[in-house]
């Protein structure tokens, strides 16, 4: 029987589908009986899905600066970055 600690250690591989069939069975068996680990795995999965959104959008000034730089480079054909 896996301990809660081991389930947490293997949560990345469990969610990525990278555990062996035996390890996966052991993890599922533990999750069936342990609500804390079920909560951990569910919320850990939400966190991984949320990570691509963790950075804010750029400000108008930042966007304008990049677009100006692109315009400048395009008006000089052949110039390298």
């Amino acid at each position: 029987m896996l301990s809660c600690r081991e389930v947490v250690d293997h949560a990345d591989a469990y969610l990525a589908g990278e555990l062996s069939r035996r390890q996966r069975f052991a993890a599922k068996l533990h999750l069936l009986m342990c609500r804390h680990c079920r909560r951990y795995v569910r919320q850990f999965n939400s966190l991984i899905k949320a990570t691509p959104f963790m950075h804010s959008k750029a400000s108008d000034e930042e966007v304008a600066k990049i677009m100006e730089r692109i315009d400048r480079r395009n008006s000089k054909p052949g110039s390298d970055v």
Binding site: D12, H36, S46, L47, T51, F53, M54, E62
Partner: protein
């Protein structure tokens, strides 16, 4: 991104390109920072945008646009390092013991939960990390965790690059990369869990 948007973008629609910059610029800065350092990340990403603009017509849409842009940033960052004659990507790479397992103190001696996770209030995955207070906490954490953890977290979880590519870029083994990613994710989990429980960092 919808197919018609992609077509317009590839045909040179500047408004859509500006929207792309708005959506991804800060994430790309965060990706470049652990590789070239905070002072050079901005320059690297600006150069990468110029190259992305030139190359967008050839973007096939097979990868996510964030992943495609990330590859351009990483190439640019490597060029910058070569130009500066720096061979090592991170000063503290390999010292994975800098941060212990963030959740170690949450378990008792037999490996059961001593302090189980709080019940999070999650409306949607994209909203989980969006609160402005939490964002401040998150920024502080990202600046504090070892550079290798931050690099692999950004490459894998925000840029969604395949593990194999990350390992090649950073010259680390897959098992090392997985351990480092696990540590970064559990740091993040601990932060969000504490924030959900107390409303504080």
């Amino acid at each position: 991104m919808h197919n018609n948007q992609l077509t317009l973008l590839k045909n040179g629609d500047q408004t859509l390109f500006a929207a792309l910059v708005r959506d991804h610029h800060r994430a790309l800065i965060a990706l470049a920072t652990p590789i070239v350092g905070v002072s050079e990340a901005e320059e690297v990403v600006q150069n990468a945008w110029v190259k992305a603009h030139r190359a967008i017509a050839g973007f096939e849409g097979k990868a996510r646009v964030r992943t495609w842009l990330s590859r351009i940033v990483i190439n640019e960052a490597k060029m910058q390092l070569r130009a500066r004659k720096k061979e090592v990507l991170f000063a503290d790479f390999g010292d994975e013991n800098l941060t212990e397992d963030a959740l170690a103190d949450r378990f008792n001696h037999s490996g059961g939960w001593q302090h189980p996770p709080a019940n999070w209030h999650v409306d949607s995955p994209d909203a989980l990390l969006m609160g402005s207070d939490l964002k401040d906490c998150l920024d502080r954490l990202l600046n504090k965790i070892p550079t290798n953890q931050r690099a692999i977290l950004e490459m894998r979880d925000t840029s969604e690059l395949p593990f194999e590519e990350i390992c090649n870029t950073l010259s680390v083994s897959a098992s090392n990369a997985r351990v480092v990613l696990h540590r970064a994710r559990t740091q993040l989990f601990k932060l969000v869990d504490h924030y959900q429980e107390t409303g504080e960092c």
